[in-house]
């Protein structure tokens, strides 16, 4: 089956050339064929998917179809979906069939878009390679000996491999953009607060944000139209008028001012990635953009600040997993403390435990000011850098990841090396800005290279416009792995 964009599938459905049931059957067959080698899905339930597809077809038959009704998508297993096993990549939730829908899931249901399955991910979204999943690593469709990135590795791999035309994902420190880069797909992390976190299992609540992954920027815009919107059940959801994120796609780029942060083009950037990003800059100049060097002098501290703030919030959020109300409970225990300690020792994997312990330490008596408050002060400096840069430019451009996909196991035993995979993405989460990644080339081994765009607050429509115009002029995003 050739890979179709969401736009193409929507046109097929609107023109009566295909039904949702037929589309879902095609994708389910491809999943059955390829998922055993890619491990991109944790849960597939054909009966549920096809029931949702029949509902979508009935909606269309009765003249009530919306623009994407009948187009199926995959959901990251961090989103609670009623009646679906929702594991968050963890043994802790290996028996958790969600009794309710996340806001994002209810939005897709309301749009009549069937769920193709729940995608694999790093445990509780903590990882950059998908190797911390209790359900085993996802394999990169471009080279199954390599990682897909993380934490949304399953979502990225399933879009790259044509197992779904689009997928939901989440990004706390780069978990949409880095796997999108490593798998050669397009992904967008919106401004913090644009997509509701209700029912999205929490990792670091001041940083977590849901967003779409797809083959094109245009598809990401269509998916964001579904996902975004105010939700009173998330106290940080923003009350804003709804937007059509496709509205600016066709605008020419003449006069666009692109900021190039010198810190993103330093020693740590690999040669082939640098060349591909520089070629993309030349392409944007041809499209009428100008460039200006900007400085993000505190961005080098973002990884350090992030590994205080994110674990601190995680240690608090993950205290809810205690073996009492849901999820795993150790089979044998004595008193209550024994039950808690064994349940959490057995239910969480090593990376999650490391981060809970870091967070516990930095929040503990005597260390709070030196670590947690200091990290929050740095967060302010990092956010101020961006505000200063946007006085000179409309959008910031750079690499998404310092390298292309690395080998399975290469960094699995070295947490610090793994953390540095997100060196270009983390500052964006700390500031709460929107960021996206799109393919801009391939290295000598045929592995995709990602280009990162960072916008000012609420500039998603402009970013999608910039990415769409680039994709009209280039064909990197149309390449598919041979599987």
């Amino acid at each position: 089956m050739p890979q179709h964009t969401i736009k193409q599938l929507a046109d097929l459905l609107a023109g009566g050339k295909s039904s949702s049931v037929e589309l879902c059957q095609d994708y389910l067959a491809r999943i059955a064929n390829l998922n055993p080698s890619l491990n991109a899905f944790i849960t597939v339930d054909a009966d549920k998917t096809l029931a949702e597809a029949r509902t979508a077809d009935a909606l269309r038959a009765s003249g009530q179809a919306g623009p994407l009704t009948g187009v199926p998508v995959a959901h990251k297993d961090i989103f609670c979906a009623e009646g679906w096993l929702t594991t968050c990549g963890s043994r802790m939730l290996s028996n958790f069939v969600s009794p309710y829908d996340a806001h994002v899931i209810s939005r897709f249901k309301a749009a009549g878009m069937p769920c193709l399955g729940k995608t694999n991910m790093d445990e509780f979204a903590m990882g950059s390679s998908n190797e911390t999943s209790f359900y085993g690593p996802v394999k990169n469709p471009w080279d199954t000996g390599r990682v897909p990135g993380g934490s949304s590795g399953g979502s990225a791999a399933c879009v790259a491999a044509g197992l779904a035309p689009g997928a939901t994902a989440t990004d706390t420190g780069g978990s949409i953009r880095q796997p999108a880069a490593l798998c050669g797909v397009t992904g967008l992390k919106p401004t913090y607060g644009v997509v509701s976190r209700y029912g999205m299992i929490a990792f670091a609540s001041s940083l977590d944000q849901g967003g779409p992954m797809a083959n094109t920027a245009e598809d990401c815009a269509l998916l964001l139209n579904v996902m975004a919107g105010f939700d009173g059940r998330d106290s940080t959801s923003l009350e804003r008028d709804s937007e059509d994120y496709t509205r600016d796609l066709a605008k020419p780029l003449a006069g666009l001012r692109i900021g190039l942060p010198k810190e993103f083009f330093g020693e740590g950037l690999g040669g082939e990635t640098r060349q591909a990003v520089e070629a993309a800059i030349e392409q944007f100049k041809k499209l009428g953009a100008t460039t200006v060097e900007v400085g993000l002098p505190n961005s080098g501290l973002s990884v350090a600040a992030y590994y205080v703030i994110a674990p601190a919030e995680a240690s608090s959020n993950l205290s809810r997993f205690d073996g009492v109300r849901y999820g795993y409970r150790t089979p044998e225990y004595g008193d209550l403390t024994d039950m808690y300690e064994k349940t959490r020792a057995e239910g969480f994997g090593a990376e999650v435990k490391r981060r809970i312990m870091i967070g516990t330490y930095v929040l503990s008596h005597g260390y709070y000011d030196a670590y947690y408050i200091q990290a929050q002060r740095l967060r302010r400096l990092i956010a101020n850098d961006f505000a200063e840069a946007y006085r000179q430019c409309d959008i910031i451009l750079g690499p998404t990841s310092p390298t292309t996909a690395f080998k399975l196991g290469e960094k699995a035993d070295d947490p610090v090396q793994m953390y540095l995979s997100d060196i270009y993405t983390i500052a964006v989460n700390l500031a709460g800005l929107p960021g996206m990644s799109l393919p801009c080339g391939y290295d000598g081994q045929g592995l995709p290279i990602g280009l990162q765009l960072i916008g000012d607050y609420f500039s998603e429509a402009r970013m999608l416009n910039v990415a769409h115009q680039y994709q009209l002029a280039t064909d990197w995003h149309t390449r598919t792995p041979s599987l």
């Binding site: 009794p99 913090y192 940080t236 849901y326 999820g327 209550l336 435990k353 870091i358 740095l378 070295d414």
Partner: protein
């Protein structure tokens, strides 16, 4: 700074995570590696910089004091490890 084995034990107890004797050294090693990474932020002078707790300046939204949730106790307790008569069961904590 460097964590001692005693520090690791104390953190694990606070976090309610059992760490077996043979795991403690590995955690100590890995956590120290992570704290070495974090340490670079200690050198920055942040005098006068207001801590930023949140990505956006947020305020607490209020809503009308009215019932918004329906009773879904059975559905929520169906996923609990152990319940009885609508209650969550845990080991005895009061003698």
């Amino acid at each position: 700074m460097s964590l001692t084995p005693e520090d690791v034990g104390r953190i694990a107890r606070l976090a309610r995570i059992r760490v077996a004797g043979d795991e403690a050294a590995q955690y100590q090693n890995q956590l120290n590696g992570i704290f070495d990474l974090i340490a670079e932020m200690q050198a920055v002078d942040t005098t006068g910089v207001a801590p930023m707790a949140h990505a956006r300046d947020v305020f607490q939204r209020l809503r009308a004091d009215e019932v918004t949730e329906t009773d879904r106790r059975e559905a929520y307790q169906a996923v609990a490890p152990q319940t009885e008569a609508g209650l969550y069961l845990v080991p005895k904590v009061i003698e």
